[in-house]
């Protein structure tokens, strides 16, 4: 459908539960019809353009149990409706998991970070402009991809893992959480399940309609970060067209444990190159035991993008991704 702007909110039933049980009940009862509303920064564009038309919204921001940052026995737990500003400014996260503070602090713009939530940033839909335009493409349940065609404008699209759909993850915090070995806490009326951050995101080969493993009636309620990478050496960088209010062309989140000169272990994760945050395990393995230096970085640059399949207009992401990985390793 051709994108149309409308100046009023569509007719939507708004639920504002104040406690967990009510929210989970609503999510279970409303299923696909109950749109989960955090800060609304992904939501309102869809609604304004009438490209998604939920009949009901469940606003989660009044549930205190899903907000805030708490220290746990083996790390920290962040409520999914904690704002990105709160995360970026939290002293505990800044001191222990600076990687996440940095990633959260560079999302979009200050205004968006003030209302945008961690959960929303993680489960936001892809920014493929064809899809966002409201076209009935694969991801919208159709039978075609407009971005991956000989003339498709796919400059922002995937290098890896494309399967009919070539959209990428737009999140800045997702690569950071994958790098920190975080766990996603998913709640529903039937209980809680925990999913490693890396397995939380789903590519189009497995599910072309959804970007996460969240099923109908499930809500991402918290993110747990173990102390595994606490106070490690971190590197985060996001390259976007604009320095504010833009999505990454490529971003990189990395964590290093060194002993003396040498890297003992590392996590390197890139965003915006695949539908899911792409962890570079080969590179991580290759740099173990080596120093954080130019020579190490240069040695693994090609490995970082091995298997990349550029589309018409996104060849530049190959050198960009290599360069960001090199910068992360050099520190």
């Amino acid at each position: 459908m051709v994108a149309t702007s409308h100046d009023v909110m569509p007719d939507i039933e708004l639920y504002q539960p104040a406690d967990e049980a009510t929210a989970l009940d609503l999510a279970s009862r409303l299923g696909n019809e109950g749109w989960l509303l955090g800060g609304g920064q992904d939501t309102y564009g869809w609604l304004k353009d009438r490209n998604k038309n939920p009949s009901a919204m469940i606003e989660l921001t009044q549930i205190d149990a899903w907000k805030g940052i708490t220290e746990t026995v083996d790390g920290i737990e962040i409520g999914a409706v904690t704002t990105l500003t709160d995360i970026a400014r939290d002293p505990l996260i800044q001191s222990r998991f600076g990687l996440l503070a940095e990633a959260a602090g560079i999302v979009a713009s200050p205004q968006i970070r003030n209302v945008g939530t961690l959960g929303g940033n993680l489960i936001q839909d892809t920014r493929c402009w064809y899809y966002r335009r409201g076209l009935d493409c694969y991801r919208a349940g159709g039978n075609i991809c407009y971005a991956d065609s000989p003339e498709g404008l796919n400059r922002e699209h995937a290098l890896f893992g494309a399967s009919r759909c070539v959209a990428v993850t737009p999140s800045d915090t997702a690569p950071a959480l994958v790098a920190l070995d975080a766990t996603m806490v998913i709640s529903s009326t039937s209980g809680q399940r925990e999913i490693p951050a890396q397995d939380f995101f789903v590519g189009p080969d497995r599910d072309i309609l959804n970007m996460t493993v969240l099923n109908e009636g499930e809500i991402l309620t918290a993110v747990r970060i173990p102390n595994t990478w606490a106070n490690a050496e971190f590197y985060f960088e996001k390259v976007a067209d604009r320095n504010v209010w833009d999505f990454a062309l490529v971003n990189v989140a990395a964590a290093f444990r060194t002993s003396g000169e040498n890297i003992e272990d590392a996590r390197i994760v890139c965003g915006a190159v695949e539908c899911v945050p792409r962890r570079l395990q080969d590179v991580e393995a290759a740099i173990r035991g080596r120093s954080r230096s130019d020579s190490t970085a240069n040695a693994v640059a090609d490995m970082a993008t091995a298997g990349a399949r550029p589309l018409n207009y996104n060849n530049f992401k190959v050198p960009l991704m290599q360069n960001l990985v090199k910068r992360a390793i050099r520190g």
Partner: protein
């Protein structure tokens, strides 16, 4: 990599052939009937000042009648093409001169002597030889209303008034003391010039540019409003940064659908894409074709900034010319990595060499 660039911007910055109307009632307030739009620069106010200056009136005694055609506005140039200040100071200056002439005629008629024996100050028309022999503007306007005819726009209107102005004048006729003017064609082409110098740092690994230093100097005749002039230069610079580095204009070629929709996809520059400070300056030489010496400056600074920034990027890349604008991160990276050959350049509807 550091790159330096210098750019020059030019736009013809003024028109003529428009009309001006000013009105006054027995309250002695000057009403400037002004059809100039407002794109946020408030130049409709700046151009009205020309009329206030001619009549030596304090600004708080002036009303600007604007915003709706049914308020009887003369034809004025649209607020485009850097022309507002030049074009519309001419018309309001002329209309106010007409009112001044009529004021002196009325005073001479009532108080004796010739119109040339009169001058104005403190909202009074008075004899040059004897300050006390005079009338307030309000009295003159009231007298004008009694006399009617050309003083209230009921007779002797300028012959070449545009049809639009004619309608406005007809409706205003008899309702107040009127000054009305048709601006004849001016000579030559009034230019607005800017020159911009900038220094950038280009990151060869990310393809990102950062503007370290930028200065734009304008040549726009007499500067009517220094703050406005500064805003024009800085605003044009932001525009030029978008034009050179960010704002692509794209269509999907297979389906013909526009891709640059909304503020996100249009990539309008944000604060952090612009230098922290953009220095400005101006020459301030009066323009001979304008009664207050002014010329426009809306477009030129966009052009000079765009040219300077493009040149600086070229300089940072050892002279490589892309022949297209804007020069975006992907183009820079493709060039540095040597993939520009195998990667299809994104077909932009912006300027392509």
């Amino acid at each position: 990599m550091v790159g330096l660039g210098i750019g020059q911007g030019y736009h013809n910055a003024g028109r003529s052939g428009m009309d001006g109307i000013v009105m006054m009632g027995p309250d002695g307030r000057l009403k400037v009937h002004n059809g100039v739009g407002n794109l946020g620069t408030y130049s409709y106010a700046a151009v009205s000042r020309a009329a206030a200056e001619v009549l030596k009136m304090p600004w708080d005694r002036v009303d600007i009648i604007t915003g709706r055609t049914d308020l009887h506005l003369p034809i004025t140039s649209p607020q485009d093409g850097s022309n507002s200040i030049f074009t519309n100071t001419r018309t309001f200056y002329g209309a106010a001169q007409d009112m001044l002439t009529k004021m002196k005629e009325i005073a001479a008629n009532d108080l004796g002597g010739a119109p040339e024996d009169y001058d104005i100050s403190n909202e009074r028309v008075h004899q040059i030889a004897d300050d006390s022999a005079g009338m307030t503007f309000g009295e003159v306007a009231a007298r004008g209303l009694e006399l009617g005819g050309k003083y209230t726009g009921e007779a002797e209107l300028p012959e070449e008034l545009a049809e639009w102005t004619q309608i406005a004048a007809d409706r205003l006729a008899g309702t107040g003391f009127m000054g009305i003017f048709h601006d004849p064609r001016h000579e030559g082409n009034p230019p607005g010039f800017t020159v911009t110098c900038c220094e950038i740092e280009l990151d060869k690994e990310t393809g990102k540019i950062e503007i370290h230093d930028m200065i734009s100097i304008g040549e726009a005749g007499t500067i009517m409003h220094p703050k406005g002039m500064d805003n024009q230069l800085v605003g044009g610079a932001v525009w030029g940064i978008g034009l050179s580095a960010l704002e692509r204009h794209l269509y999907d070629p297979q389906n013909g659908i526009p891709a640059s929709t909304g503020y996100w996809q249009s990539k309008v520059p944000t604060y952090l894409d612009c230098p922290l400070k953009i220095d400005t300056g101006w020459v301030d030489l009066p323009d001979p074709e304008n009664p207050v010496g002014a010329r426009g400056i809306g477009e030129p600074s966009q052009g000079s900034v765009s040219a300077a920034l493009t040149a600086a990027i070229t300089d940072a890349l050892d002279g490589h010319i892309f022949g297209a604008s804007p020069i975006t991160t992907d183009m820079i990276l493709n060039h540095i990595a040597g993939t520009s050959e195998e990667s299809v350049p994104l077909a932009q509807n912006n300027y392509r060499g």
